[in-house]
């Protein structure tokens, strides 16, 4: 942490926290709104990816591919929804349950130590999951929304040119990403890559892994 504080970050025009946050938020919506709303959430995904792609060309090709798969007729959309539910929701045991603790807890359950840990991170920011206690706090959509929140705040701080203050949210993102997102998402993504029957989902996973890394990449660049 002290090391981070000594590093000066790239200025906001290079960081693109806002655009990254938009992609993360769009990804969050994909999971919070579920397979039945992919007709709305996927185009939003594509749009945000496109915007971010202006700065990160690797995302441009991903978003172009995603776009091809987001213009679906009704039957294709329904198939996509069934596949989404098979992968993430159920009722058959889901291939890749979108909860952190399933990947990191000893018994591979929901509502475990990891869930409580992210809850306290949210609390530190005066945030609370609306359905706390019913839906695990480490639900992927919630974690991504929180990541987007951190980056948006980092962006705001950058805009206000607050110097060290600006590092607070970037630092929080780094910490959150290292302690949580980066620990479980690769395992989650791997399952999707192995078992998905529709190309859209591995693509989404590629966008996901790539996007959460972007803010960290910037630090490495520095």
């Amino acid at each position: 942490m002290t090391e981070v504080l000594r590093i000066d970050l790239p200025n906001e025009s290079v960081a693109h926290f806002k655009e990254i946050a938009s992609v993360l938020l769009a990804l969050s919506r994909v999971f919070s709104h579920g397979g039945e709303s992919l007709d709305k959430t996927l185009p939003m995904m594509v749009k945000t990816c496109h915007q971010l792609g202006e700065y990160y060309p690797e995302l441009l090709s991903m978003s172009a591919e995603l776009e091809n798969h987001s213009l679906l007729n009704e039957i294709e959309q329904q198939q996509l929804c069934f596949e989404f539910n098979r992968l993430f929701i159920g009722p058959t045991p889901p291939i890749a349950p979108p909860y952190e603790s399933v990947y990191l807890s000893q018994d591979q359950l929901v509502m475990q130590e990891q869930t409580v840990k992210v809850r306290s991170l949210y609390q530190d920011e005066n945030l609370m999951v609306i359905s706390q206690g019913k839906n695990p706090d480490d639900f992927m959509a919630t974690e991504l929304e929180f990541a987007a929140y951190l980056l948006r705040n980092a962006d705001k701080e950058a805009m206000q040119n607050k110097g060290l203050n600006r590092l607070k949210y970037y630092e929080l993102y780094t910490e959150f990403s290292q302690e949580h997102l980066r620990k479980w998402l690769p395992k989650f993504v791997e399952r999707v890559h192995q078992k998905a029957n529709h190309p859209v989902f591995p693509m989404l996973m590629d966008v996901l892994l790539c996007t959460i890394e972007l803010p960290l990449q910037q630090r490495r660049n520095v």
């Binding site: 539910n85 929701i89 509502m111 839906n135």
Partner: protein, 679 residues
């Protein structure tokens, strides 16, 4: 701060344990047995020990879901509002179409035995006369048998068994299925009591007993009658029998004229001299107790078997004796107040022949089926009828925790809460405790309790058509649970107000020994060897031996499917599930069929065939094979495909319908060529 909560294990299990859970920050972190409960004594069995894994299992279903085509696996999430709209609309349409509500069917049983799980029944009663699955897949024959003999179904407090000097465990395997009874049995053994286990095979309980008597399946009733005859011959009958029994002379006549010890020995497989020795010991030892297991009555002669064993207990004077008697079960503490809805003239279908009888319904045919606490596609007989029924039905709804075999056939899946997420009130069919079950955590995901589902659907129905359901549309779960303690239950529990049960589980104030003053509640107020009620039900008035079904040449092996130590019916508590069933056979059979241990073989009968891995059990008779119940029907073909719905002889009077004679399933065995083997 950790918080503690009371629960009751709601499984279909003898022990109905009292549980204390701990939550931290709204998360369930541990469960333990309640030390203040004199039966549970702070211990739980391994089935409950993985409750947290069950509650927080990522495979648990969190949202209402709709399947576009049955068995397709193509599911969509829907909101509760959409799900209930769809169900309510279908109910209203069916009612309009038929002019009545009989096309709506409920098939509910023991997935969760809590009193508030009757909410589904209340909901259906609120809609009008509907079609119901009645009876029990389990204990019907025995319940009726004891009703004929004693007047009602009741037994002594189970700890009383510890006073017995001689304890017969007859067709029961508590080492696997009633673990809290084992310490009571072991203590009695330590104090010098003798324990004899009667069974078809050497169960874990038999292995821990002083003596094992191997009885041929379906002949236990004859064994009991033969021992009754010995008691008469040896003058070991209670000399006060004339004071409190009915039909003694007729019964003795029957024994004298129709029971022959040599023949009984031949049929039961127990030598005549052993029958005599056992009977004499039973007649001479006080107190002597018999515990009859549920498996014994799962034959076409199951009720007669229970009546014969009751008669043995009565003849020897052990009924009403402290530490004696014939234990089977009871439902005296199940007198819940209900929802106060009027009794409906429902169309009643035997739960064990539900699909078969449902297919025969035409005025009107079944249109909507609601499955609750049931998994018929993994448990019931007549699977082919079930599949035909599924094709005919217009809407199938299931509320459950996980995607069961039966849920794969559903159109709508509604996620249910566990007993850590709702209020309930639970009684045992074995001990006398009644306990409140409190919610410890919020419902997981969008899961709802049965009661809430029932309220919400009633609200929808009434919104669509005013007055279409008289079940309440809202309420308090806690209050509804407490209301189940009506005046009878309060008296029974020695409580002034229902709220007192919130403090701790309470034991009913029954005398610990059943029938201690020989005050029976039969029509004659006596123990009835000769029962007019049995006669009126078309049965022999006396307990008699009626042979069970026997294997045929084509299917020479009797298939028994006892409970596994880690399973309750299709509810599994195993960490790792196998992909196939193990078939236990006698080593001689192995030789006869040219099989090797671990080899894949096939069992089949006229209904289905099933590939199994062969294992050996030295204690099994040569014409009996065993598959322990395992919840692997999602991975392998369900073993119930082999079942036919033969019914037990009794069950219509007190149990609501005859039971399933599941132990009269016969199969053939075949060695497979390597290319035929699936595993």
């Amino acid at each position: 701060m950790p918080e503690k909560h009371y629960h009751v294990c709601p499984r279909n299990c003898y022990d109905t344990c009292s549980i204390i859970s701990t939550t931290v920050n709204g998360v369930l972190v541990s469960i333990e047995g309640n030390p203040a409960h004199d039966y549970t004594k702070g211990k739980l069995c391994p089935k409950a020990m993985n409750d947290i894994q069950k509650v927080y299992n990522p495979s648990r279903i969190r949202y209402p879901m709709r399947q576009r085509q049955r068995f397709s696996g193509n599911w969509e999430r829907m909101s509760w509002d959409e799900a209930l709209d769809m169900i309510a609309q279908k109910i209203i349409d069916s009612k309009k179409h038929d002019g009545n509500t009989l096309s709506l069917a409920l098939n509910k049983y023991s997935g969760n035995f809590g009193a508030l799980h009757n909410a589904m029944e209340w909901l259906f009663s609120g809609m009008g006369p509907t079609t119901r699955a009645v009876g029990s897949p389990c204990w019907s024959a025995g319940v009726d048998a004891q009703t004929y003999d004693f007047g009602k179904f009741f037994c002594s407090e189970p700890r009383e068994m510890g006073h017995a000097k001689l304890l017969w465990l007859w067709g029961v395997n508590p080492a696997w299925t009633a673990v809290h009874q084992m310490p009571i049995i072991f203590d009695a053994m330590d104090r010098g009591s003798k324990v004899i286990c009667f069974d078809t095979y050497l169960s874990d309980t038999a292995a821990r007993s002083h003596r094992f008597i191997q009885v041929k399946p379906g002949t236990d009733g004859l064994l009991a009658l033969a021992m009754c005859k010995v008691l008469c011959e040896e003058n070991l009958m209670d000399d006060k029998l004339y004071d409190y029994t009915l039909g003694l002379v007729e019964f003795i006549d029957y024994l004298t004229n129709s029971i022959d010890l040599t023949e009984a020995a031949e049929i039961t497989g127990v030598k005549a001299e052993i029958i005599r020795e056992l009977a004499i010991e039973y007649g001479q030892t006080c107190p002597a107790c018999i515990w009859v297991g549920f498996g014994l009555q799962r034959y076409t002669n199951g009720g007669q078997t229970l009546r014969a064993i009751d008669a043995l207990g009565a003849l020897a004077g052990h009924i009403g004796e402290k530490g004696g008697g014939v234990h089977y079960g009871h439902f005296e503490t199940w007198k819940f107040a209900g929802a106060g809805l009027p009794e409906q003239q429902n169309r009643q279908l035997n739960i064990n022949r539900f699909a078969r009888e449902a297919l025969a319904c035409d005025k009107p045919p079944l249109r909507v089926l609601w499955l609750s606490g049931r998994n018929p596609l993994a448990q019931d007989a007549d699977l082919k009828h079930w599949h035909r029924l599924i094709q005919q039905l217009e809407l199938i709804v299931i509320n459950d925790l996980f995607l069961t075999k039966s849920a794969q056939a559903a159109d709508i899946f509604l996620p249910a809460t566990t007993h850590y997420e709702h209020w309930d009130l639970n009684s045992s069919y074995w001990h006398y405790w009644v306990g409140i079950n409190e919610p410890a955590i919020n419902p997981v995901g969008e899961a709802k309790s049965d009661l809430e589902i029932a309220w919400n659907l009633s609200a929808k129905l009434n919104r669509f058509e005013k007055g279409s359901c008289s079940f309440p549309t809202s309420g308090s779960e806690r209050e509804t649970a407490l209301k189940q303690l009506g005046p009878d239950m309060l008296r029974m529990l020695g409580l002034n107000t229902p709220e007192e049960i919130l403090d701790r589980p309470i034991k009913a104030k029954f005398p610990p020994t059943a029938w201690e003053n020989h005050e029976f509640v039969t029509p004659s107020k006596r123990y009835e060897f000769q029962s007019s009620r049995a006669l009126a039900a078309g049965l022999p008035a006396l307990p008699v031996f009626e042979p069970a079904l026997l294997p045929s040449k084509e299917t020479p092996l009797r298939l028994l499917t006892p409970h596994h130590s880690m399973m309750i019916n299709s509810q599994s508590y195993q960490d790792a599930l196998s992909d196939y069933y193990d078939l236990y056979i006698n080593p001689r059979l192995l030789e006869n069929y040219g099989l090797k241990i671990g080899e894949t073989a096939e069992i089949w009968n006229e209904y289905a065939s099933l590939q199994v891995k062969v294992k050996v059990d030295m204690s099994l008779p040569e014409d009996v094979v065993i598959i322990y119940q395992q919840a692997i029907e999602q991975r392998a073909q369900a073993r119930n495909a082999l079942l036919n719905s033969n019914l037990s002889d009794m069950g219509d009077v007190a149990a609501g319908g005859k039971g399933l004679a599941i132990n009269e399933t016969f199969v053939s065995l075949r060695k497979l060529t390597p290319s035929e083997r699936s595993f």
